[in-house]
């Protein structure tokens, strides 16, 4: 498939800085922000500044942001209320010998906000919490095995990083069992085979895998899982790190109508301030306390103040409803543009966290061209990873993006001729 020439943003300074970085930083930019996951040459590598739903790269290019920092930004960059709460806490204390009173205040607020939550444990990243959750489940059940969905992402700890990545050994996965998404019978069989050995089942609320179309839970899937877990004494863990607070303020279990025993949150809960949390049911609280798990910055007070302000503001402005509305507007607009150009776009996932594929292009060549071209015109679309909407996106932003998409679609068409 030919890559048609196009005009648009240039990324000269990004490339120069990347070159410098490659001499002193492995991979120059590692992990999920690595350019290897995008289309280098068509994307910025470094951010200069950000406000609302927009950011500016070091070349001076401005983007309407549909990745939101890969999820953390939910109210908008430089959000006045959140930043004010953080600044006020900063003026008092941040990382000291003890937690601040804000820790208790935030925990109480979350226990009231999230129906299944009787307690809260704080850390920094989503991966801190998924690992903590399986440790708590093992402590609670005195069992070793963990069931995960094939290809679900739970962070970068060895137990959940695929064999083949640097430093991961086959033994790291000794007690990890895999089942396919939406395969309730497969889970039932696995439980039968390993009866009284499985400590926990952990999954994301729906199937959102990089490079793939998102798949929602089949009717009865989560309820069925919940029922098996209850009858077999298996702890049901919801990894809500990516979707949490975008579908429902009570967690995605509330959205999909089931009750996890533990829920892991991070990303959106601090609007960009570094914080994560695991919430759980009373029955697991004692076991959770027995897990020795900590980090130098996990009790820092500033992110907790920011998180409390974020959660309160999300509720106050009914952010979930607005984010969904903006997501629908974007996706409907893209589908319509595709139709107008004779290219069928297949959206997937909830509107707040959408992704698109071009029908008849399972290899993503068209995604790579389309998303690059939209990005080079000023709206940041990731070609391989689900997108994120925020409460800072307004109709005028979506309309501007649809104009970028309209122009980009012409390049996609040209690549097919």
């Amino acid at each position: 498939m030919a890559e048609a020439e196009s005009s648009g943003y240039q990324f000269v300074k990004s490339a120069e800085l990347f070159e410098r970085a490659s001499r002193v930083i492995p991979g120059a930019i590692y992990g999920h922000m690595s350019p290897t996951l995008m289309v280098p040459g068509s994307y910025p590598f470094y951010t200069l500044k950000a406000e609302g739903c927009r950011y500016t790269d070091i070349d001076g290019n401005e983007f309407i942001d549909y990745m939101c920092g890969y999820g953390p930004m939910i109210l908008g960059y430089k959000h006045k209320i959140v930043d004010k709460a953080a600044a006020e806490q900063q003026a008092l204390a941040d990382t000291t010998n003890h937690p601040g009173p804000i820790m208790v205040e935030l925990a109480e607020y979350m226990v009231n906000l999230i129906p299944i939550a009787d307690w809260v444990f704080f850390a920094k990243n989503g991966g801190d919490m998924t690992t903590y959750a399986i440790l708590a489940a093992r402590a609670h059940t005195n069992r070793k095995k963990i069931v995960t969905i094939r290809n679900h992402y739970h962070g970068v700890a060895p137990w959940c990083t695929g064999f083949g990545h640097g430093g991961i050994t086959a033994e790291d996965h000794t007690n990890i069992l895999k089942v396919e998404w939406n395969d309730l019978e497969g889970f039932r069989q696995l439980v039968k085979k390993h009866r009284d050995q499985i400590a926990a089942f952990i999954a994301m609320p729906y199937h959102h895998i990089t490079f793939e179309e998102q798949i929602m839970p089949a009717p009865g899937y989560w309820k069925g899982l919940e029922s098996i877990c209850r009858s077999e004494g298996i702890v049901l863990i919801l990894d809500d790190v990516r979707a949490g607070f975008r579908l429902s303020l009570g967690g995605s279990g509330e959205f999909f109508g089931f009750e996890p025993d533990l829920i892991c949150f991070s990303k959106a809960m601090g609007n960009g301030y570094p914080i994560s949390a695991c919430v759980g049911k009373k029955a697991l609280m004692n076991a959770a306390a027995k897990v020795f798990y900590t980090g130098s910055f996990w009790m820092s007070a500033v992110p907790m103040a920011a998180s409390l302000a974020t959660l309160k503001n999300l509720k106050e402005i009914n952010a979930v409803e607005k984010i969904e509305r903006m997501g629908k507007m974007l996706i409907n607009g893209l589908v319509e543009i595709g139709n107008r150009h004779g290219l069928e776009i297949s959206p997937s996932g909830p509107p707040a966290i959408p992704f698109i594929h071009f029908k008849e292009d399972p290899n993503l060549y068209l995604n790579q061209i389309f998303c690059s071209e939209v990005t080079k015109r000023g709206s940041f679309f990731h070609p391989h990873h689900n997108w994120f909407l925020s409460a800072a996106h307004e109709e005028k932003d979506i309309n501007e993006t649809l104009n970028h998409a309209e122009a980009a679609m012409k390049t996609v068409k040209a690549s097919l001729s």
Binding site: F18, G27, P35, G162, F163, N363, Y365
Partner: protein, 258 residues
């Protein structure tokens, strides 16, 4: 090295490395000189295993079949994988055992070792050889071929990599140097079918900008992540297929480094 891995390495030697003589005989005058007048096929095989490669000789060129043949040939049998690997890696002076036909071609057998040494000449080239662009391209081409066929052996037989390979997406991945050599590998349900040259419609491709970058990549001295970011390597299409093959390629360099 444990027995299962010795066997995988033996498979790599016989099915990915020895067949390179086919390509080397196309341009290497020393190889052409060694095989001058040869007509009887030579079959290399591993005792007790279904692993063999047969070299045929026609009009001064080598033709490799990654299998046994039924017609009359010289057969060289390696007693076990460990011995085979030690011989190929120059750690043993032992020789494979010839069959009766081979005993009638002792002079020719003495030339097998120098013939195999021509592979090493290009696979582990000296700096001087790499200074010449054409030679560099030949080295890159041969290493890419070895990689493509080595991936098959590892993906299908390495006890740790096999489960990973079985979960790769089906598709066709092409690895190419811009305006240079290329290989492609078809992956279907954990089985690999490698081939030389470009593919018509790859599901994914990895394009290396120039020969120097390609050489560094195949030698494992390139930061591939940085190279992709800087545009020295371009990947497009079904990237999980490339991502999935990458650890298998890494494993190949570990095998070959031993």
């Amino acid at each position: 090295m444990e027995a299962a891995k010795e066997l995988v390495l033996a498979r790599i030697h016989l099915k990915a490395i020895v067949p390179l003589l086919e390509d080397i005989s196309e341009f290497d005058s020393e190889t052409q000189q060694i095989i001058k007048g040869w007509s009887k096929p030579i079959q290399f095989q591993l005792a007790g295993e279904d692993v063999a490669v047969t070299l045929s000789f026609r009009e001064g060129k080598v033709f490799a079949l990654r299998d046994r043949i039924n017609k009359s040939k010289i057969t060289l049998t390696f007693s076990n994988a460990e011995t085979l690997n030690a011989i190929f890696q120059g750690r043993s002076k032992k020789s494979p055992r010839p069959n009766l036909t081979g005993l009638f071609h002792l002079k020719k057998l003495l030339q097998v070792d120098p013939l195999l040494k021509r592979i090493e000449y290009y696979m582990k080239p000296g700096e001087k050889l790499l200074e010449d662009h054409n030679s560099l391209e030949q080295c890159v081409r041969l290493t890419l071929y070895a990689m493509a066929f080595g991936v098959k052996e590892i993906g299908e037989h390495d006890p740790e990599m096999k489960p990973l390979a079985e979960h790769l997406p089906d598709g066709l991945v092409e690895i190419r140097v811009k305006d240079g050599p290329a290989v492609h590998i078809t992956v279907k349900k954990g089985a690999f079918t490698p081939a030389k040259g470009r593919a018509e419609k790859p599901s994914a491709y990895l394009e290396i900008a120039d020969m120097e970058t390609a050489w560094n990549m195949v030698q494992g001295t390139l930061d591939q992540y940085a190279a992709i970011g800087s545009g020295k390597i371009k990947i497009r299409g079904l990237i999980p297929l490339i991502d999935g093959i990458n650890p298998i390629l890494d494993r190949l360099s570990i095998y070959m480094a031993d």
